[in-house]
């Protein structure tokens, strides 16, 4: 689970995130929507520590990241935060020089110092569960986009994150693949995982998210259960966006 309150991010003089607050309860999926430039990607990069936050707090399990603490302290906490938050990037960013199996066990063996045998067993189980049991020895370059995405999910989950972030997971998939990704993600939620998914696709989020957060101009416009936000949005801007989309 994760709790974000009053999160701000400035780049020079322009403020991209103007005090964002929300919470993702355990074993649920939060879908984040919003027009381009609304700050969705910056939010994601703050949550996994790739951007330094300018204000507010991010709490995940027992890690609490906040602005205005000493540099060394901040770095330490970012390191801890990254261990709690897993990310599946829009471009996947698999390591092309490593096999699928090596991609997955790289961080567990070198960061968590899990014994190699144990890490491999876990990795093979994960590959099985994302439907790529036979691909362990293949290299990322020989996989399709959908297959790469599932390796990226397995790689992130191998670190046992408290929260899994997915950035535009449907952008590279055809409709059939989108459907099976939705099924896959729901299976992982059933098994106890918590997720935050950024997506433009209402159809996809409607089938996978428990709650929807709608952002515009760096602020939260609307936040509520999926049904409510998608079917009877309270804010005019959400309504506008939904009418134009899909």
């Amino acid at each position: 689970m994760i709790r974000v309150s009053g999160l701000r991010k400035r780049f020079g003089k322009s403020e991209i995130l103007k005090g964002i607050s929300f919470e993702v309860p355990p074993q649920t999926v939060l879908g984040v929507m919003g027009p381009s430039g609304s700050g969705k990607s910056t939010l994601l990069r703050c949550l996994n520590g790739l951007e330094t936050i300018s204000g507010g707090t991010i709490e995940c399990d027992n890690v609490r990241l906040e602005a205005n603490i000493s540099h060394a302290d901040y770095r330490r906490r970012v390191k801890d935060l990254r261990l709690k938050v897993g990310t599946v990037f829009q471009g996947f960013h698999l390591f092309p020089h490593l096999s699928v199996l090596a991609n997955i066990i790289e961080a567990p063996t070198h960061v968590l110092r899990t014994p190699k045998k144990k890490a491999e067993t876990e990795a093979l189980e994960l590959l099985e569960s994302v439907g790529l049991a036979g691909a362990a020895k293949r290299f990322p370059g020989s996989l399709s986009g959908g297959e790469q995405q599932r390796v990226a999910i397995a790689r992130a989950l191998a670190m046992h994150p408290a929260l899994l972030l997915l950035d535009e997971p449907t952008s590279a998939l055809d409709p059939r693949r989108i459907h099976s990704l939705r099924t896959l993600l729901r299976t992982f939620v059933e098994r106890g995982h918590t997720m935050l998914i950024i997506s433009h696709s209402m159809g996809f989020l409607g089938g996978v998210a428990d709650n929807i957060l709608f952002m515009e101009g760096g602020s939260v416009v609307e936040h509520g259960p999926t049904d409510q936000v998608l079917n009877s949005p309270r804010d005019a801007r959400t309504k506008d966006f939904l009418e134009q989309a899909d």
Binding site: R82, L83, V85, G86, A107, H110, L112, G141, S142, A156
Partner: protein, 531 residues
């Protein structure tokens, strides 16, 4: 309609302009070639005229060539030396004008053969090898050899004490052949200055040199002393092209004349080179008791030995490999930190690295080596030649490597760093495990390229008297005249060294980059979504 014709007219005009331009260029080219042909014709027609009208063109190596011929320190635009004065006297006796052609000791014989000048006057000794290639005049001077050591060195008093030490001498001289015969390890130098300097710097243990050079360079130096008396006797003669018998007769006569009328004695006395050996040599000629023409040169019995030459080439190739590999290690060890400093370092480090790279890329490696070899001893760092070459080439190539590495590192997309960070990796771990292996793959082809050219660049080490392959070629070929065969042999050595490396790198490259593709062909099974 009017609108469409306008551009047509315009292009017509342009075409005409273009045609005019081409015509002008052709005219210029024509003029240029006409002038060139005229110039060549002039030169060609001038040649026979000059052969008739006879300045005596003589070749010698003036660099470090005192007291034979050298640049006048008081008047650096002029050459002086006892042989200069002697040739002037000879030319006067021949009713000619002497014309000096500065040349290089190692290539004197080949330069004579390709008609750069007509005679060699450079303390040349008649050897069997040379006798096969050129004609010799009568002798004009009797030289001896002198061993020199450091003034505080009492270990060496004769050549016999040098068996396990390193003795320096000039390449392809009587001294170098004697050392070779006696199996004394030696290093060849281009000029006496370098040899005596290295003796002072303790890079070598002794110098064996002809007395004239020794008298000029070593005797006035208080840090050096002669080891034992001068020994062996040899003759200096003038070298001529085969078939130039008329000129030989003319030269022989002139030599007789300046010996008989005492001109040569005056010159030698002036330069402090008149000694008992000269008295013994000149007296019979001057008294006429011995017909001057009966004195024939005696050849040193050194002839060219192919198996020994190949063995020397093999050892030289070993030195080349050693220097190249050592330089490579330095280039890699220094190149990576330089690349990192220039890429991610703080401003001062970036500036330093850029300065380093620009300095070593922007100045010739030859100048860098000369600086390291001759310049650094001034501040007390005197490295032996092979180490200088190794370090110099290493530092030079580090600059090139750093640019290859930097380009390779920058080619790795930022997403790789972010993916590694988001998995909890530290910057060093991400660099070591994720970025570096990928960058290595990109850097491999240009690295191979650089290292093959490093193998060849070791040849600049000849400038600092390192006995590597190029030096060996120059020296052996000059001693034997076998430029073609030895050249082929040396090329073969270079290829034997560089081809396997290129091949190895290609294999590695293929293994790294085709791995993914190979897998796809090997076990491509359709993977269906199962979840």
């Amino acid at each position: 309609m009017a609108k469409t014709t306008l551009p047509e007219k315009y292009t017509c005009h342009k075409e005409a302009q273009e045609a005019q331009r081409i015509l002008r260029i052709r005219l210029c080219l024509l003029c240029f070639f006409a002038a060139l042909i005229a110039a060549i014709l002039c030169l060609v027609s001038a040649c026979p005229v000059r052969a008739q009208q006879q300045p005596l063109r003589w070749g010698a190596d003036p660099s470090g060539g005192a007291p034979y011929i050298f640049t006048d320190p008081a008047n650096p635009d002029r050459y002086i030396g006892y042989e200069k004065e002697m040739v002037d006297a000879l030319a006067a006796a021949m009713n000619r004008r002497a014309e000096f052609v500065p040349s290089d000791w190692q290539t004197l014989v080949s330069a004579l053969q390709r008609k750069s000048f007509d005679v060699i006057v450079n303390g040349l000794e008649p050897t069997g090898d040379r006798a096969q290639q050129i004609l010799f005049s009568k002798p004009y001077y009797i030289f001896q050899l002198q061993l020199t050591v450091r003034a505080d060195d009492n270990r060496i008093s004769s050549l016999a004490d040098c068996k396990n030490r390193v003795v320096a001498t000039l390449g392809n001289t009587a001294a170098s052949r004697l050392l070779q015969q006696e199996h004394v390890p030696f290093r060849s130098y281009e000029d006496p200055v370098g040899a005596y300097r290295d003796l002072e710097l303790k890079r070598i243990d002794a110098v064996l040199m002809d007395v004239p050079a020794e008298a000029f360079y070593a005797r006035p130096n208080p840090k050096l002393k002669p080891a034992g008396p001068p020994f062996t006797k040899g003759q200096y003669v003038i070298g001529l092209r085969k078939g130039d018998d008329a000129l030989k007769a003319e030269v022989d006569q002139a030599i007789d004349k300046i010996i008989k009328d005492g001109t040569l004695e005056t010159i030698l006395k002036k330069w402090g080179l008149w000694n008992d050996a000269q008295v013994e040599f000149e007296t019979p000629i001057r008294s006429g008791t011995e017909a001057a023409s009966n004195i024939e040169y005696t050849t040193t019995n050194a002839t060219f030995n192919w198996s020994e030459a190949l063995w020397r080439l093999t050892r030289a190739a070993g030195v080349t490999v050693f220097i190249a590999l050592g330089a490579m290690v330095i280039a890699i060890l220094f190149g990576l930190p330089l690349a990192l400093g220039q890429w991610k370092g703080p401003a001062w480090l970036r500036a330093f690295c850029t300065l380093y790279v620009e300095f070593f890329r922007g100045t010739p490696v030859l100048v860098q080596l000369l600086f390291l070899y001759f310049g650094l001893p001034v501040i007390g760092i005197a490295m032996p030649g092979w180490l200088t070459a190794l370090v110099g080439l290493g530092l030079n190539y580090a600059a090139y490597e750093s640019q290859v590495y930097r380009a390779a590192l920058e080619a790795i997309p930022n997403g790789q760093w972010e993916a590694a960070y988001s998995l909890g990796m530290s910057p060093t771990l991400a660099f070591r495990r994720i970025i570096l292996p990928q960058a290595f793959r990109i850097a491999l082809p240009p690295m191979t390229n650089d290292f093959v050219s490093l193998f060849k660049d070791t040849s600049v080490a000849f400038a600092i008297s390192v006995w590597e392959l190029a030096t060996a070629y120059r020296e052996l070929a000059n001693a034997s005249g076998q430029f073609l065969l030895l050249g082929l042999a040396v090329s073969a050595f270079y290829l034997i060294m560089s081809l396997p490396m290129a091949h190895l790198a290609r294999l590695l490259e293929r293994r790294l980059s085709n791995r993914a593709a190979e897998r796809m062909v090997d076990d491509a099974e359709p993977l269906e979504v199962s979840a």
